[in-house]
Symmetry: C2
Subunit: 281 residues, 2 copies
């Protein structure tokens, strides 16, 4: 997905929120905004938002001296999600279509996102998501691809959300490689977040090598790229990965909750909608 | 009121919205964002938001070549407000406290504002405002000052809102000077907007001389400043004027609807609250 003009004020808002979490020093927060303000002119609209997000969150870390502002928030999210795990499993057990319910649960977990300016209540939002209609639902193609796949490449998104992903991975019953960011950016899951969520029990965890808040391929390492290029069935979670991969010609299924107007317009949805969308190839 | 850090992303958002209204040329809109992004570092937090708003909206006009992007919107607002005038008068006629109802109506008109990122329905919002409790209500002091005043200095805010102001001016029954901005900025009322609303029938219209979206005194002309300094009873409408004048030691009554979180925090209110507040002197 390209960068829309509306993304530019959003970048500044994200920088403000992240800087405030990173430091109590208002002068440093102002410095972040000054610097990010000056960076805006260098953002090409042809690039995807996470490409710029990467530089902006780096700037936040550089100026505030805090390389992982969301560490505590991420741990809380994981702890909270783990406490919900038994009830998530029970939803699957009770459902008529276990796989679709597990997909819904994985999408429900995607509300745990500190990028967009949007509050959430994971417990209530999960219940709502289980009842929502999909605005795009390529479920038949998903089942078909899953049946044929020997292996799943599952590109994760946020800490805490990993627990919800685990439910889907368990339901798909195929060897899975679970992809995380290489270094902390917003509340995106890195290796340790996936382990804390218990993903290591159900999948092989692989770092994409990126420090962007989305799988920006040109920032990924060769190990990930080899796996990615050879994958027949890829699951991409969340907005950041959608933004980075929506124009790719790979067999990707995007699972996400729409959390901003720009993505809503890009997909043809409205905020709050849930999506199970196959790349157009 | 000082500029808060949250104002900076808001400035960029306002520039985006205004530029889009001013032109269909996306490159020019991007140029506006680039330039405004670079301006942020020069904004002193000690200044009031309309001081910066002035420079930002000037930049929008300069780059888009459109000196009055909101002209059409302003005319529609006035036309719409004029169609409501009979019902506004009828609310006053039917009320137990005509003056307080007229104040509520003047405050209701303050929702007609294209600065904040907030939609409104003037007809529905007026009905709501008539029933709302004030979060700050210096009504007794207002009545007392009004009784003693020989003349009222009434600082207007937005086009369309002038019609609502007319209802209050008619109810106060004292000679009134109605202040407008000198040149177009957002949808703020200038001389012709006040005339279209019929203000010239009930008050003397005076330009403050400013091109800021608020009465920033150092940008006002000497004619206005002479009147302002000698006024014993000043009414200031809206957020922009509150931001510009809230730290002044003049006998000002602020009448406004709270339309952003920053002002809500500054006043100790929440968005949507209505305010009738005397300056602390």
């Amino acid at each position: 997905m390209k960068t829309y003009l509306d993304c530019l004020p959003c970048f500044l808002n994200q920088a403000l929120r992240a800087a405030r979490i990173a430091t109590d020093d208002e002068k440093k927060v102002k410095e972040v905004l000054d610097e990010v303000g000056m960076m805006l002119k260098d953002i090409p609209l042809e690039s995807s938002p996470p490409e710029s997000g990467r530089l902006i969150y780096r700037k936040v870390s550089e100026i505030t001296g805090n390389g992982d502002p969301f560490r505590e928030i991420k741990d809380k999210s994981t702890k909270n999600a783990l406490s919900l795990y038994p009830s998530l499993k029970s939803h699957v057990e009770k459902s008529d279509d276990r796989l679709l319910t597990a997909i819904r649960i994985a999408i429900a977990g995607n509300v745990i996102d500190f990028g967009p300016d949007r509050s959430f209540d994971i417990e209530k939002d999960t219940v709502k998501t289980l009842k929502k209609d999909f605005i795009v639902c390529d479920y038949d193609r998903f089942k078909d691809c899953l049946d044929k796949a020997d292996e799943i490449l599952y590109i994760g998104d946020n800490a805490g959300e990993c627990v919800f992903d685990k439910v889907l991975i368990e339901e798909m019953k195929k060897p899975t490689i679970y992809v995380v960011r290489n270094t902390p950016v917003i509340n995106d899951a890195i290796y340790e977040d996936a382990v804390k969520a218990g993903i290591d029990k159900v999948a092989t965890i692989l770092s994409s090598g990126t420090d962007a808040p989305g799988t920006v391929l040109k920032t990924c390492n060769s190990e990930f790229m080899d796996v990615y290029k050879n994958s027949k069935f890829i699951i991409s979670k969340g907005q950041g990965n959608y933004e980075a991969l929506s124009n790719e010609k790979s067999p990707i299924f995007f699972l996400l909750t729409v959390k901003c107007q720009v993505i809503a317009n890009d997909i043809g949805a409205v905020e709050g909608n849930i999506i199970l969308k196959r790349t157009d190839i």
